[in-house]
Symmetry: C2
Subunit: 261 residues, 2 copies
C-alpha cells in the first residue's frame, strides 16, 4: 500500500509542472498526484494570510488522495506556508525554497547570490533567511520579476520584449557581481535561455526543481520500477491549462481532473 501511494505535488497553477517533470526524471518509479490551483492562480500577488489558507486546502486535498509526502512546488506558497502545512500534516513536507537555497550556497564561489521571484516571494525574505542559515556571510541580492510569469505562460521566451525586461530585472544583479542566480519561481525554467544570456557565462543558474527532486529522493529512498500512473488535478480546467501546462511538463497533458476545493 505504502509503495503505491503517490507523491503529492501542488502549485498555484501549472508552473509546478516543471518540478513534477524533475521528480519524474529523478524518481521514475514513483507515481505523482499533482494539483494546480488554477482557479485561484496567481498566488504571487496575494497576501500571506490568503496564501496560507489556499496552501492548506491544497495540501489536505493531496492527503485525501493518499499522498505519502507533499511537495509545495510553488515558491510563493513555500515562502509563506511551508511551516503551517508542515505543522498540520502528519507526513514529510518539502518546499522549494530550502533545497534551492542549499544548492545555491554550495554553488557560489564569491558569496554573492542573486535570487529572482515574484513580488510575494522576494518580499517574504524566505530565500534571504534560508541562505543566511547556510552561510551568514553570503550576500543575497534580490529582484522581483513580475512580468516573467505571463511571458513564460504566453510562450514569449524568445520575444525581444522578454529580452528587454530580463535586462532591466537582471543587469543590476550582474553589475553587483553575483556568480550564482536562483530561479525562485517555477515558471522561470522556461526562460533559462534569455536569463542565462543576459547574465553571461560568469553566473551559474540554479534551478530549484532539480534540487527539490534530490531532496525528495533522500526522503522516499530507492524508487520502484514500472510505469507509475500519474494523476493531474486542477481547480479550473481549460484548453489553456492543458496547452500551457504541457509546455511546462514537457509532454502532453492529456487528462486533467477538475476538483472544487
Amino acid at each position: 500500500m505504502q509503495v503505491t501511494a503517490p507523491l503529492g505535488v501542488f502549485d498555484s497553477g501549472i508552473g509546478g509542472l516543471t518540478v513534477a517533470a524533475a521528480l519524474m526524471r529523478r524518481l521514475p518509479g514513483e507515481a505523482l498526484a499533482y494539483l494546480g490551483d488554477t482557479a485561484r492562480v496567481p498566488y504571487g500577488t496575494k497576501s500571506p494570510e490568503v496564501i496560507r489558507r489556499y496552501a492548506l486546502r491544497c495540501a489536505q486535498f493531496l492527503v485525501g488522495q493518499g499522498a505519502k509526502l507533499v511537495v509545495i512546488a510553488c515558491n510563493t506558497a513555500s515562502a509563506c506556508a511551508v511551516d503551517v502545512v508542515r505543522d498540520t500534516l502528519d507526513m514529510p513536507v518539502v518546499g522549494v525554497i530550502e533545497p534551492g537555497a542549499a544548492l545555491a550556497a554550495r554553488t557560489t564561489k564569491n558569496g554573492r547570490v542573486g535570487v529572482i521571484g515574484t513580488e510575494s516571494t522576494i518580499n517574504s525574505g524566505s530565500y534571504q533567511r534560508a541562505l543566511a542559515a547556510h552561510d551568514p556571510h553570503i550576500d543575497v541580492l534580490t529582484a522581483a520579476c513580475p512580468l516573467f510569469v505571463p511571458l513564460a505562460e504566453e510562450g514569449l521566451a524568445g520575444h525581444h520584449a522578454t529580452r528587454l525586461l530580463a535586462e532591466e530585472y537582471l543587469r543590476p544583479l550582474v553589475a553587483r557581481g553575483i556568480d550564482t542566480l536562483v530561479l525562485g519561481c517555477t515558471h522561470y525554467p522556461l526562460l533559462v535561455p534569455v536569463i542565462a544570456d543576459v547574465c553571461g557565462s560568469g553566473v551559474t543558474i540554479v534551478n530549484s526543481a532539480d534540487a527539490v527532486a534530490e531532496a525528495v529522493a533522500t526522503k522516499v529512498g530507492a524508487s520502484g520500477g514500472g510505469h507509475p500512473r500519474h494523476r493531474f488535478y486542477a481547480t479550473d480546467v481549460s484548453d489553456r491549462v492543458k496547452r500551457v501546462g504541457g509546455a511546462f511538463l514537457g509532454s502532453v497533458l492529456e487528462h486533467v481532473e477538475l476538483v472544487d476545493l
Copy 2:
C-alpha cells in the same frame, strides 16, 4: 433611503476602478460600493463556469451592501456572466460589453471595428455578437492582448517592451483597416498613449468606461449633490492593491475593507 443607496460596482480586481472613476466624474452625487475580487484575480484565464460562480457571489455581496444597481466593471465577467447576474438579481445590471459596443457602432465610419481584450473576453465572442446586434454589416477584428494587464499593473505603460508587444498585438488590426478600436478590458485605459500611438490618428479609441457611466446615468436619473461616501471592498488587501489601485482610480485609495466571499 433609496437616494442614499450606493451604485454597486465589481471587478475581478482593481481594473474596474477605471470604471468607478468614470462613474464618479459622470455622477458626482452618487455613492459607490466597489468590490474587487482580488483574492481570485484574474478572471481572464478562467473557465466560463468558474467566472459565473465568482461573479454571482460578488453581485450578491453588493446587494447585501444595499446597492440599488450593479455594474459588472469587468469585461471577462460581463462577457460570461451578465445574463446569469441579471436573471438572479432584482435590480438593474449594467455590463461593460453592451455600452462599449454601442458606442463603437456609432463611432465607426468604415464599418471596421477592432476589439482588444483578455483571451476569455475575445474567445467568448460577446463583443462580436453585441456589435452585430447593432449593425450586422460591421466587420469585427479582434486580438487577445494577454500581456497588457500585467504591463498596466506594473506601471510599465511607457516601457519599450510594452511598445513592442503593442505593435505585435495591434498592427494586424490596423493593417486590416480598422477606424475604431474598443478597449475591451478595464486595464487598458492606462495604456492609451502607446495604443493610440501604434494605431495612428486614423483610429478612434473607444473607452468603455465612459460609455458605461453614460448607461448608468440614464438608469438612475439626475444625480443628487453633496459629497457621497464611497466604500471599497476587496477579497484580498495588500499594499500592492492600494498602490496599483490608486493608479487606476486616479486618486489615493486609502481605506479598503477586506471581505471573505
